[in-house]
Point group: C2
Chain length 122, copies 2
DNA sequence: ACAATAGGGGAAAATTTTATCCCTATTTGA
DNA sequence: TCAAATAGGGATAAAATTTTCCCCTATTGT
């Protein structure tokens, strides 16, 4: 596992939530788990742009930060189900607000983001 | 400027907001600008852990995404003031909710984050 | 025997982000 | 005359994250 060389700041609430939510796929993982897609393979289907590997890594981090919990069923082939912890559930309204904001401003955001990407590659 | 090789997905609201808020200091920048710290040097004092350089870069991105606007006063020494755009202002309640969540769970979050950092470097 | 299924992980490469260092310019004050 | 304040940028290095590639487990069904 990668060992950080720069110790993160944990001064304020924003630092703390940043530390547990920073990760390209984490918010989506929480969202889809909340929607009932509990198994790793389902999550992979919902997030096809991420590789299995990253999803595993980010799921593990979410678990270590106690936002989700993992249940392993002792069957073959293996079955695993994730679920939100109580703490994780309290994030859902916030994630929902984030998604709503993005949806509401969808057209505008898409245009400014694309404009910037184009000017980058001029 | 860095040119991305992987084109970001812009499918849903979460993708879009992620694209404009992803950046280590962006949320704090928006927050402090909202609090009335408008000038680059003030923002640097509020966020001493970031270098001038990164703040400039992230401020520019926020500006290109139309979350903040920049006013340059033609004086010497130079004076610059940022302010939230109407769109930027609509993010404040969400950022506030993020910070509140972090504050409310401060003790717990700090402990799980530190536990994970330690186990990393075992 | 062997593929399919469902889950997972190590190592290294690639990508992206952030940090460091060194420059520019102008005016005020010591 | 020289430092401080104020804002900014280029080049490069370092750090962090994500992706790619290949490997493993064990059982069931063909």
């Amino acid at each position: 596992m990668y060992e950080r060389k720069i110790i993160p700041n944990l001064n304020c609430g924003l630092d703390l939530i940043g530390e547990v939510l920073y990760g390209k796929w984490k918010i989506r993982l929480l969202w889809f788990i909340n929607e009932g897609h509990l198994r790793p393979s389902e999550l992979q289907r919902k997030i096809p742009d991420a590789t299995r590997r990253v999803l595993n890594i980010q799921l593990k981090e979410l678990e270590e930060h106690d936002l989700i919990s993992k249940k392993i069923y002792p069957v073959v082939p293996p079955k695993v189900e994730y679920s939100l912890t109580e703490l994780g559930k309290t994030l859902i309204p916030i994630i929902s607000a984030l998604g709503d904001w993005g949806d509401k401003n969808e057209a505008f955001l898409r245009s400014v983001i694309l404009k910037r990407l184009k000017s980058e590659s001029q």
